[in-house]
C-alpha cells in the first residue's frame, strides 16, 4: 500500500508542506470559483431558496468517498493511516449547534471566510476577527469545560465500527444518508417554492 505517502514515510516534511500549500491553493481556487467567497451565495441555503451549498458539499463527499472506497478495495491506501477526527458525541452535538448559530449570524465558516477575505469582503474580515477572538476566549475558559469537551469519547469511529461491519457497508450507509438528505432538502425547497415567499 503506497498511500498515504507522508504517513508511509515516502515524502519528507518539507515536501508534505509544499503539497499542503498546493492543495490549499486548489481548495481556495475551487471555493472561489464555486461562489463560496461570498456570503450572499452561501446564506440562501438557510431558507431553502436554492440548494447550491448542499449540492457542492454532497458532490464533494460522494466523489471523495467513492475514490476512497475504490482505493481501499484495490489496496492502494492504508485506510488505518488516514486521519479521521476522533468522535466526542456530546461536544460534537453542542459544537454543531453553536456552529449552526454562528453560520446564520456570520454567513461564513472558517474556510469560506479566508476566501471572502481574499476577495475583499469586509464581513469576512470581521468574521475572521471574531474567530480569532473566540479562539482566545476558548483558551481562557478551557480549564472549566475540559471535562465536557472530552466527554462521550469514541475515538476513531466510522459506520464500520458503529454497525460492526466493513468499510464497504460504511460507504453504502454514507451514500444512503447523502441521498436521504438531498431528498429532504429538495422537498423543503419544493414546499418553499410552492408557498412562494419573498
Amino acid at each position: 500500500m503506497l498511500y498515504p505517502l507522508y504517513t508511509n514515510g515516502l515524502i519528507s516534511d518539507g515536501l508534505n508542506f509544499f503539497f499542503a500549500l498546493l492543495f490549499g491553493i486548489g481548495f481556495g481556487f475551487i471555493l472561489e470559483r464555486g461562489g463560496f467567497g461570498s456570503s450572499a451565495h452561501i446564506a440562501p441555503i438557510f431558507y431553502f431558496r436554492d440548494l447550491r451549498v448542499a449540492q457542492t458539499m454532497v458532490s464533494a463527499i460522494m466523489t471523495t468517498a467513492t475514490l476512497m472506497i475504490i482505493s481501499v478495495y484495490e489496496g492502494w491506501v492504508n485506510f488505518d493511516a488516514v486521519y479521521i477526527p476522533p468522535v466526542y458525541v456530546w461536544p460534537y452535538l453542542v459544537g454543531g449547534i453553536l456552529f449552526g448559530l454562528g453560520m446564520v449570524m456570520g454567513g461564513w465558516c472558517p474556510g469560506t471566510s479566508v476566501v471572502g477575505m481574499a476577495r475583499g469582503k469586509v464581513d469576512a474580515f470581521m468574521f475572521a476577527l471574531g474567530l480569532l477572538s473566540g479562539m482566545w476566549f476558548y483558551f481562557d475558559i478551557y480549564d472549566k469545560i475540559e471535562n465536557f469537551a472530552n466527554s462521550g469519547a469514541l475515538g476513531r469511529f466510522t459506520f464500520a465500527q458503529l454497525f460492526h461491519t466493513d468499510l464497504y457497508v460504511a460507504f453504502f450507509i454514507t451514500v444512503v444518508i447523502v441521498v436521504g438528505l438531498m431528498t429532504f432538502m429538495r422537498t423543503m425547497k419544493a414546499i418553499r417554492d410552492q408557498k412562494g415567499e419573498e
Binding site: 475551487i30 464555486g34 446564506a43 454562528g102
Partner: protein, 172 residues
C-alpha cells in the same frame, strides 16, 4: 464578472483535490485549526504565559504554533482564492447583506458569528472542512452528528436573521 461554476462541478473537482490531499498527507483539508493556531501564537506574543495554557499550550509546545501543516494549507486557500477572484475580476472591498440592512449591524453579526463559531470548532474538532467534508468522506459517524446539529440549528435560527439575508446580493 464571470459566472460561478455549477455546484455539482465545484463539488466533484473539490472531491478530487480532497482525495489527493488524503493520499499525500494522510489527512484532509481544514480551516479552523489554522485560526486556533494563529490565536494561540498571538496570545503567546502578547502574554508568554499562554505557553502553559491547558488548550493553547498544545499548539505552543513545539515552538511556533504557526509552523504546522494546516496553517500552510490555509495560506494556500487565501492564495488560491485570490488568484481565482483576480482572474474573474471579483476583487472589491464590499459587504454582503440583505436588502436595506445596515452595514454596521451586518458587521456586528459577522463578528459575533465568528466568535461563537470559534469555540464550536474546538468542541467539534473541526469545521465544515476538517470535520464535515473530511469526516463524511471517510465514513465517520461524528461528521454527521456535527453536520445535522449545525445545519439543523441553522434552519431553525434562520428566521431570526431573515432581514440580514433578505434578497441578499453581493456587495454594497
Amino acid at each position: 464578472m464571470n459566472k460561478y461554476w455549477h455546484p455539482v462541478l465545484t463539488g466533484i473537482v473539490l472531491g478530487f483535490v480532497l482525495y489527493a490531499t488524503f493520499m499525500v498527507a494522510g489527512q484532509g483539508l481544514g480551516a479552523s485549526g489554522a485560526f486556533a493556531r494563529t490565536a494561540a501564537q498571538l496570545a503567546y506574543l502578547i502574554d508568554p504565559s499562554y505557553a502553559s495554557n491547558a488548550y493553547a499550550g498544545k499548539y505552543l509546545k513545539h515552538g511556533n504554533a504557526l509552523a504546522n501543516w494546516i496553517v500552510v494549507e490555509v495560506v494556500g486557500v487565501f492564495i488560491g482564492g485570490y488568484i481565482s477572484a483576480m482572474l474573474a475580476g471579483r476583487i472589491r472591498r464590499e459587504v454582503d447583506k440583505g436588502e436595506g440592512y445596515s452595514v454596521g449591524k451586518r458587521l456586528f453579526w459577522a463578528f459575533l458569528g465568528g466568535f461563537i463559531m470559534a469555540g464550536a470548532t474546538r468542541l467539534a474538532r473541526g469545521c465544515t472542512s476538517g470535520q464535515a467534508l473530511d469526516g463524511a468522506s471517510t465514513f465517520s459517524v461524528g461528521a454527521w452528528i456535527f453536520m445535522l446539529a449545525a445545519f439543523g440549528t441553522a434552519f431553525f435560527a434562520a428566521p431570526f436573521f431573515y432581514k440580514q439575508w433578505k434578497n441578499v446580493k453581493e456587495g454594497e
